[in-house]
Structure formats: structure tokens, C-alpha cells
């Protein structure tokens, strides 16, 4: 009985950590899709880039883990602005098909480039000592990194919620998600808003990617491997909804983790079946607007 409880808690924590990573990476995608309706399948590439930047800064330049994460956030976020202005902006009026193809093309280029530079083998990462090992919470000891993940995730959820609901910038984003034309006629510069949220979202994806290395591993196929899950978080949560992204990411993380543990051969089946069922019932997602 105690054993089952232990396993359950372990699974729950693993799932939560996994879900937090999915949230951190996907929230940017959800907001940008809600804002501009742009189907960006290359979002995972930013996460992957964040992972590689983090690992390279640590191993080649000896930058400490947390600082490397912060740098990844800033560097990838800044680089994404270049992509957005030069490439993405030209396709805002394009059809969904064109956006999908364009972003698939970008992902392929990213994967090929990273494979060329880093090789296909998984990259190791050495997390600092205070994050490896276990943390003693009194009633139970838990793996430190997982706890760290959940804590970071919770902090980010709080920060994003605050930013979204309490600042005027957040209000503008919400207004533009709700009704872009109305927002524009009220004087909100939606294009600039979009560039900012795109940068923030890509930076967060990079942060998530850096955090994910220790949990999920890092190979050049990361961008496509987890792409479906990022899309599920956005579609099931509802585009443009942070609440939806949190809910969907956590449920997805916990369920997928548990599924793989309980049914290793094809445990993922349930995730997709659940996604389909949910989308059939609520096509706009849990918190999406129709």
C-alpha cells in the first residue's frame, strides 16, 4: 500500500514536472496563435535552440546553469524577433495551409542545421549540485530537479497570470486576442504587440527547452518529436488562453507519463484518443472562444 502510494506520488510529480515543461514551451504558441491566428509548427525549434544554447553555454563557456537558462531566454527571444519581422510577418494574411507548410519548412531547416553542428546524439547536461539528488520536504523526500521544475513552472504561471490580468500590456494583448480589428481601431498597435509576444513566447520556449534537457533529453529531433504535444496543449487548452494552456499541459503531462508507465507499448494511444474526444466535444478547446 505504501509502495503504491510512493509510485503514485512519483508518477504525479514526474507528470507535473513534464506538464510544466509543456506549459512553459507551449504558452507562447498559444498566445501567438490566439493573437494572430498563425499556425506556427516551428515553435518547437525555439525550444530546441534554447536547449542547445543552454548546453553549449554551460559546457563550452562554463556558464552556471541558471544563468545559462536566462541567457537562452534572452538570446533566442531576441533572435526570434528577426525571424518574425523578416519571414513570419509576410504570411499573416496567408492561408492556414501556407502557414503550416512554411513552419514545417523552418523546422526541417532547424533540425538539419542542429544535426550538422551538434550531431544526432543526445546532449548531456550537468545540472548544479543543489538541483540533483533529493530534497527533503519532511514527510517525504523527492527528486530535487522535479521539485525545481514544478516550482519554476508555478512561478511562471503566477508571473504570466499577473502580467496578463493586471498590467495594461496584458490587457492590450487580451483585447487583441478577443477582437483584433476592434483593438486596432481603439489605437492598439497590434503588430508591435505581436512582435513582443512572439519574442516573449519564443524566449519562454527556449527556457523550457533548457529546463527540459535534464528531464526529456536533447536531440536535434526534439522540435518535431514533441511538436504534437505542444499543438495539443494549444488546441485542447484553447488558443490565447493561459488558463487553458496550464490545464491542458498539466493534464497531458500527468496522463502521458502515467500512460507510458502503466502501458509501455502504446500508452500514448490514450492521449490521442482523449485529445480527439475532447476536441470533438469542445472544438475551440477548454477555454477557447468559438
Amino acid at each position: 500500500m505504501g509502495h503504491v502510494l510512493n509510485v503514485a506520488v512519483g508518477l504525479l510529480l514526474d507528470g507535473l514536472a513534464y506538464g510544466m515543461i509543456l506549459f512553459i514551451i507551449s504558452v507562447g504558441l498559444s498566445v501567438t496563435m490566439g493573437l494572430m491566428g498563425f499556425v506556427n509548427l516551428a515553435h518547437g525549434a525555439f525550444a530546441m535552440a534554447g536547449g542547445y544554447v543552454t548546453v553549449t553555454l554551460m559546457s563550452t563557456f562554463g556558464v552556471p546553469f541558471l544563468l545559462a537558462l536566462a541567457c537562452a531566454f534572452v538570446l533566442v527571444g531576441a533572435a526570434s524577433v528577426v525571424f518574425e519581422r523578416l519571414l513570419y510577418a509576410r504570411l499573416y494574411r496567408a492561408s492556414e495551409l501556407e502557414q503550416v507548410l512554411f513552419s514545417i519548412g523552418l523546422v526541417f531547416m532547424a533540425i538539419a542545421a542542429f544535426t550538422y553542428v551538434y550531431g544526432p546524439a543526445p546532449r548531456p547536461i550537468r545540472v548544479p549540485a543543489f538541483l540533483s539528488g533529493s530534497v527533503d520536504l519532511g514527510f517525504r523526500t523527492l527528486p530535487a530537479y522535479r521539485v525545481f521544475m514544478v516550482a519554476v513552472g508555478a512561478a511562471l504561471v503566477a508571473a504570466l497570470w499577473f502580467g496578463f490580468e493586471r498590467t495594461s500590456l496584458g490587457a492590450k494583448v487580451r483585447a487583441a486576442v478577443d477582437n483584433r480589428h476592434m483593438a486596432q481601431s481603439v489605437g492598439i498597435n497590434v503588430d508591435r504587440l505581436f512582435t513582443m509576444t512572439f519574442a516573449l513566447g519564443s524566449g519562454l520556449a527556449a527556457l523550457g527547452g533548457g529546463l527540459a534537457v535534464n528531464l526529456l533529453g536533447l536531440t536535434p529531433t526534439f522540435a518535431i518529436q514533441y511538436l504534437v504535444f505542444f499543438l495539443i496543449v494549444v488546441a485542447v487548452g484553447g488558443r490565447g488562453s493561459i488558463r487553458g494552456a496550464v490545464a491542458a499541459a498539466l493534464v497531458l503531462g500527468i496522463t502521458d507519463n502515467a500512460g507510458k508507465y502503466l502501458y509501455p507499448a502504446g500508452g500514448a494511444f490514450f492521449i490521442y484518443a482523449a485529445t480527439i474526444a475532447l476536441l470533438l466535444l469542445k472544438p475551440a478547446g477548454l477555454y477557447g472562444r468559438e
Partner: protein, 334 residues
């Protein structure tokens, strides 16, 4: 005065009524295919796979190019057909090729009908996700039931009897090439008829302005499910041929990579033209055969780059470029 007003009208009617007639230039792809049979006897195995790829891309063109259904899971039907034909031969011992193809098409059609009936009520990102999730779910199901599908090793031991009891299969795939070409011809004629029919026009209408079609009272859902089912059947036949010609099937027949690849081939060639499927598939698979083994990264980077450039600058794909060039040449000629 009245006479000149009337001349425009009958000419317009005649134009629309004649549009479906076969033009001389349409013989070209078939002549090239037959020419390849004689000119490149050592490459017919690749040729057969290219013909199969064209069939698959053609079926996607009906769904995506004409009806505008954005799907990332079309390989589900290819894979269903492949496993149907493969298992029929390997597990049930039924090796007759043509009925094997019919069975493959029928299984895929059923899958297409059921999934289409449910999913095609949705649009946009939701539909994209649903088609993607359905295909992946099928893949995972195949993984889970490795006892049936053979898992990663796939279905082996597929033995196909000689076509019509007479044409045996040789190492160099001569018979398979002609067999595939004949099947492609049949499927193409069917696709072409559908596209030029009033039903085909209605599909274009649905793609161009769904709201208008609904306001006209068009039974949109029924039309979409119909074309989806037919396209699924075609993809299933292509998959069946894939299983027969390769004598094995693995889960890759169902996978996302295959759905993405056929999408890329079609876009490259040009959607909504039927012949775009020919051009795009042939060019992609020929280049892949040469370049992907040399350097997989450069190949992947190249594909990505071409995709990005196509979307930005050449929306009609290669076939669109060819058409533009032909029009320019005609103008120069005058």
C-alpha cells in the same frame, strides 16, 4: 448590335462544356513513364515506388487541392491499405494481387468514411489536430498490437501470386512497374473525371468560399465525406501496391513522416492541378534517391528551404511555374 451581344454567351457555354476534354499535352506524363521503362531498365524498382508515390499524392490533391481539407494524417489511409494487403497475403495466404488491391482500397475507404464523417464537421486548427491525432493514434494502436502488425519489424512473408497467373515478378521489377502504371492510369482517369464533374466544381466552391456554399444550400458535409472516402480508397490502393511491391510493411507506412512527405511532394508540384502530383512526386523522390544518401542533413535542410521558398514565392509549385513559363513562351511566339 444585338447579334454581337449574343456571341459572347454561346462561346462561354462551349468553353465550359469542352473543358474536360483530353488535351494532347496530357499524353506527355504517360509517354515519359513508358519511355522510362525502356530507357532506364535498371531503375524500375525506384520507378515503381515513384508511381506509387504519385498515386498517393493524387489522392491527397483531391482532398487538399480541390476540397481544401487540411490534413496532416493522410498516411493513415496509405498505411491501412498497406497493412490490409500485406496481412491478407502474409496471414491469410491470399496472394492474388488485384483483389488484394481492391481489398486494400475497401479497407481504407471504410476508414476514410468513418473518420471523415466524424471529423469533417470541423475546420481550421481543430481539423488539423484531429486528423493528426487520428493518424498518430492509429500508429500507436499498431505499435500496441504488434502481434498483428509486427511492430517495428513489420509484416513479412508477403507472397504475391503472378498477375493474371502469368506475369511473374522479377528482381528488376519490370512487371511491377507496368502493373503500377496501369493502376495509376485507372486511378488518374477516375480522379480526372471527378474533378471535371459538377461535383468537382462544388468541391472547389467549398474550398473557395464555404459560407457561400452553405448559403446556397450545398450539402457541404456530404460532399466532403464523399471525396474524403474516395481519396482514402485511392491512398489505400497505393498502400496496397506498396506492400505488394516491397513484400513487407512496417509502421512507417502510417507515420507522420509519410503524411508530411506526401504533403511536401504535392505542394512542391502544385495543388489543385492533378498533374502537380506527378511533377512534385517524381522530382522529390528522384532527388531524394540521389541526395538523401549523400548527406541526410543537407537533404533535409534543402527540403525545408525549398518548402519555405515555395510558400513565399511560388505558390503554384513547380507545375505552376511550368504553366507560367508556357504562357510566357506562347506570348513570345506571337
Amino acid at each position: 448590335m444585338a447579334g454581337s451581344e449574343r456571341t459572347a454567351a454561346p462561346a462561354a457555354a462551349e468553353f465550359l462544356l469542352r473543358r474536360h476534354r483530353w488535351r494532347a499535352a496530357e499524353a506527355l506524363p504517360w509517354l515519359i513513364a513508358i519511355g522510362a521503362y525502356f530507357a532506364f531498365p535498371d531503375y524500375l524498382a525506384l520507378g515503381t515506388q515513384i508511381l506509387i508515390g504519385i498515386m498517393f499524392a493524387l489522392s491527397l490533391d483531391l482532398v487538399l487541392g480541390y476540397a481544401g481539407i487540411l490534413t496532416l494524417g493522410h498516411a493513415a489511409f496509405f498505411g491501412t491499405g498497406a497493412y490490409a494487403a500485406g496481412l491478407l497475403a502474409a496471414k491469410l495466404g491470399w496472394g492474388e494481387p488485384l483483389t488484394g488491391l481492391l481489398f486494400a482500397g475497401a479497407c481504407a475507404a471504410l476508414a476514410g468514411f468513418v473518420s471523415g464523417w466524424v471529423l469533417l464537421r470541423y475546420r481550421g486548427l481543430t481539423l488539423l489536430m484531429l486528423t493528426l491525432a487520428t493518424a498518430i493514434m492509429l500508429y500507436e494502436l499498431g505499435n500496441a498490437r504488434a502481434d498483428i502488425t509486427g511492430g517495428y519489424d513489420g509484416v513479412t512473408g508477403i507472397v504475391i501470386k503472378p498477375l493474371f497467373g502469368r506475369f511473374k515478378y522479377d528482381l528488376y521489377a519490370h512487371t511491377y512497374y507496368l502493373y503500377a502504371l496501369a493502376v495509376l492510369l485507372v486511378l488518374f482517369v477516375i480522379a480526372r473525371r471527378i474533378v471535371y464533374s459538377p461535383f468537382g466544381q462544388a468541391l472547389v466552391g467549398i474550398r473557395e468560399n464555404l459560407g457561400r456554399m452553405q448559403a446556397l444550400g450545398s450539402p457541404v458535409h456530404r460532399r466532403l465525406v464523399t471525396v474524403y472516402t474516395i481519396a482514402a480508397a485511392m491512398a489505400g490502393v497505393a498502400g496496397g501496391l506498396y506492400a505488394q511491391s516491397n513484400a513487407f510493411v512496417t509502421l512507417s507506412a502510417l507515420g507522420f513522416e509519410r503524411s508530411a512527405a506526401v504533403l511536401i511532394m504535392l505542394i512542391l508540384g502544385g495543388t489543385g492541378r492533378l498533374y502537380g502530383a506527378f511533377v512534385g512526386t517524381a522530382v522529390y523522390m528522384l532527388l531524394e534517391d540521389r541526395l538523401a544518401t549523400l548527406s541526410p542533413e543537407f537533404w533535409q535542410f534543402g527540403v525545408g528551404l525549398v518548402l519555405v521558398l515555395t510558400v513565399l514565392f511560388a505558390r503554384g509549385g513547380l507545375f505552376g511555374l511550368l504553366e507560367r513559363a508556357a504562357r510566357a513562351a506562347k506570348r513570345l511566339w506571337r
